[in-house]
Symmetry: C2
Subunit: 126 residues, 2 copies
């Protein structure tokens, strides 16, 4: 189940956030009542649509790259490098957590941190 | 393996960060050469020791609560609510990712976000 859930979440993420096809993404992979924990986004598909529209208006070149995908039963976790979620030229490190029920995404949490200019180690944040 | 790895990481996290016993935590659960991706922390046990000392000096009442634990093969992911990693009175939402080899923690990434005062939804960040 975990491997199938990874495929579902990666497809949902790419369709909704990389391609901006939020309605398509929800029709295929998520429930429209999707419970949202990102404090900038309202619940459900409409919240994600508004969020994507806002990102695209402020940062038309916003882009994300998925670095790692993990799954544990009904949860899938993505570790990604984004540009355009803030004005930071180095971009943001993001972890998204998704919960699925019956093969559909039903709930989302995330944590977003702008990448600082300097680091105490040579390993990058990824 | 995933369930054992969860136990190891939770024990490591509590011993090092909740109890401040960093040397004990590394002796029992991690390798001293631990690869660090948090940009505020140097590699290895010494980096974590300095970080914990700094947190305790600035925020003696710093405290974390683990909300969710996930594991996928050799990685364990913690979703936690902290107070005292910043001056934010609402605290921080944190995801830590750990990689293990042969039952010891060898690598660490994290993402930290101060919790904002208001939210577009009623679900909290957890």
């Amino acid at each position: 189940m975990s491997e199938t859930n990874k495929d579902i979440v990666v497809a949902f993420y790419k369709r909704a956030l990389f391609e901006g096809q939020v309605e398509d993404a929800f029709r295929l992979y998520a429930v429209p009542t999707y419970r949202q924990h990102n404090p900038l986004i309202e619940d459900g598909m409409e919240g994600v649509k508004k969020f994507v529209a806002r990102i695209m208006a402020n940062h038309p070149d916003a882009r994300g790259e998925i670095k790692r995908v993990f799954a544990d039963c009904d949860h899938v976790i993505l570790h990604s490098h984004w540009h355009g979620l803030s004005d930071n030229p180095r971009g943001e490190t993001v972890v998204d957590i998704f919960r699925l029920e019956h093969g559909k995404v039903v709930e989302h949490w995330d944590v977003i941190q702008p990448i600082p200019e300097t680091s105490a180690n040579a390993n990058t944040m990824f």
